[in-house]
Amino acid sequence: MNAESRPATLACHPWVAHVAIVTEVRSEIDSVATFRMRFRDPEIARQYRFLPGQFNMLYLPSCGESAISHSGPPENSGEDFWHTIRFVGRVTDSIAKLKVGDQLGVRGPFGSAWPLDACRGRDVIIMSGGLGLAPLRPMIYALIAQRESYGRVVLLHGARTPDTILYPEEISQWRDHGIEVELTVDRASNEWDGNVGVVPLLLDRLSNVRPSETEVVTCGPEIMMHYSAVSALGRGIPETSIWMSMERNMQCAAGLCGHCQWGPWFVCKDGPVFRYDTIRSLLKVRDL
């Protein structure tokens, strides 16, 4: 997508964070929680908008900054935005300790968005692995909000084990809103009587796919997205209808610091959402 259609990043100075206050902490699966927050300055809260797929930089003074995707409803403003975070490093471990009323710095929104315009009037297949469902959730909310504007919507989601499936209650509600959901796990437990295996297999087996009428969006581990694209291509879906969200080290989020480079792209500003045909050759190169 072009830069002009994106919501404005707050402040022209890309490095300066705005203070946000945690309003709710919801524990998800093990080592994962969703933080709802709002900007302390009401004017900034009012101005702030984001698109599904975009991310913020969350900052804890004296600790550091981490790029985290939006995981809440895109119609919300800076009064109420959500981030689902896995505690895996110095910064996110410190975010894990935040309680309601605590403050942090937020810069954003940054990056490209999921292709809602391209999906309009078409079937949408959402393929996610693990925490990859979080950056896709704003898109799911957007699809549900205007459900009649889209064709068939299918969520194909995989997790390592049944108890690491993200947002389980919400997934049930999405079914009620006209979204077909297929789940799979890598390792079953006693209570699990569903699918076992990788996410691309769900697409291999999905019936009534209309390849020329379908957009595929995928987020998860790079290898999972790679094979999801292979599966989509196998079903006859063109390269230009497959989209994925990439992860790289991001520090400035504005294409100034160089960390997130991937071939010709800055993942922070040209991505994180890329159309598959623009990155296909890069995905095949190790350690790029």
Partner: protein
């Protein structure tokens, strides 16, 4: 300006600055509030640092360069700009190695986060070479994009006075002629000097530059001096022997990502990051927090970083580029080909610093040539 008559003198584009009043010129810069940054000898190298006196310049010194080689040598004359380029570039003033970006303070309402206003430095850069003017234009495209602008860079760039110097000799590491970036200065300067015995032929590139030549009452150069300057500039062109097939490399290198040469160069490369530190266009940085002891005030600080550093590409699963092979590949492909995709210009200006300052003498022109030779086998993973 052979056609210049007395009445046209103030409009002359090329004037003569006698060495005898060079100090008066420097004094005028200082009096106008400019901090002069120019070449000085420090620790056995010619670096860019504040100076005020003509005697601060590396009078009578030159540099001997080659792959992994840099030495100062005495010249037979007292030339002030008789060297080529050293380890410094002007980026250390426009994009300083360390910058404070944001300050967070604990208050009764919680954190107060505000930008650190950049210091209002006004520099006169003395001795900027053609390849360095090109490097500034490359970094302009990096730091002043339609989406985001680096305020410190923009402020310093817009209020700097640029006094360029045309090269009259070249090092064996130079290849600016291949990159269309030199050795003659064509644009992007306020004044451009060509050093001759007894003074400088001065081209005026801006009204700001003309103010100084007017106040010094400089007169048009003689035809003889203009010819001497052209001959001195041609001497630099004639001395350049190193080449890089710019357009071929730009279009080819991106298709050589799995070439075995990356493994071979990785056996030599120390991944020390010297090449990126001396490069006048490399712009990668990292940010860290510097805090006082009670955590009441935290400064977000940016410092130069390098794609050769192990942690540079770190994500939750570990560094993406955990091999020297992949880090060298990132640097070279970015510099010579992906930079064009990103910024519409090559990231290389042919200054040769990365060749001279590589501790093991890796030569990017040689690596690019080998990588872009006709491959024996088609590669997997070609776009």
């Amino acid at each position: 300006m052979t056609s210049a008559t007395e009445s046209q003198e103030s409009n002359a584009a090329v004037v003569w600055l006698p060495r005898a009043i060079f100090q008066a010129f420097l004094d005028l810069l200082s009096a106008d509030g400019y901090q002069i940054i120019g070449p000085r000898i420090e620790q056995g190298a010619i670096v860019y640092a504040p100076l005020e006196r003509v005697e601060d310049l590396p009078l009578g010194w030159t540099d001997e360069q080659g792959p992994g080689l840099y030495r100062l040598k005495k010249r037979a004359d007292e030339a002030a700009f008789g060297y080529v380029v050293g380890p410094h570039s002007w980026k250390r003033f426009l994009f300083p190695p360390q910058t404070d970006l944001m300050r967070s303070k604990q208050t009764d309402e919680g954190w107060d986060m505000s930008p650190v206003e950049p210091a209002d430095d006004k520099y006169a850069f003395l001795g900027v070479r053609a390849c360095e003017l090109a490097a500034m234009e490359v970094q302009d495209r990096v730091f002043m994009t339609p989406m985001f602008t680096d305020e410190l860079y923009q402020r310093r760039r817009s209020q700097s006075l640029i006094i360029a110097v045309n090269c009259t000799s070249a090092a064996p590491t130079c290849f600016c002629t291949s990159m269309n970036s030199g050795p003659k200065c064509h644009k992007g300067f306020d004044l451009a000097l060509t050093e001759l015995t007894g003074g400088f032929v001065v081209e005026i590139g801006s009204e700001l530059g003309r103010r100084f030549t007017d106040r010094l009452m400089l007169v048009p150069v003689t035809t003889q001096r203009e010819q001497d300057a052209a001959a001195a500039q041609q001497q630099a062109v004639d001395q350049i022997t190193r080449t890089l097939d710019r357009e071929h490399v730009q279009s080819t290198l991106k298709n050589r990502l799995n070439h075995k040469r990356w493994d071979e160069v990785a056996e030599k490369c120390l991944s020390c990051a010297n090449c990126t530190m001396v490069c006048p266009t490399c712009f990668c940085s990292s940010v860290d927090d510097v805090t006082n002891l009670v955590d009441e005030e935290v400064i977000r600080q940016r410092h130069w970083d390098s794609c050769f550093n192990f942690d540079f590409s770190h994500i939750s699963g570990g560094p993406v580029r955990d091999q020297t092979r992949s880090r060298y590949r990132q640097w070279l492909t970015h510099k010579l080909t992906h930079w064009v995709d990103q910024f519409g210009t090559s990231g290389c200006v042919g200054c040769g610093r990365c060749i001279a300052w590589c501790p093991v003498g890796i030569d990017l022109t040689e690596e690019a040539r080998i990588l872009c030779e006709d491959p024996a086998v088609p590669e997997e993973g070609q776009p």
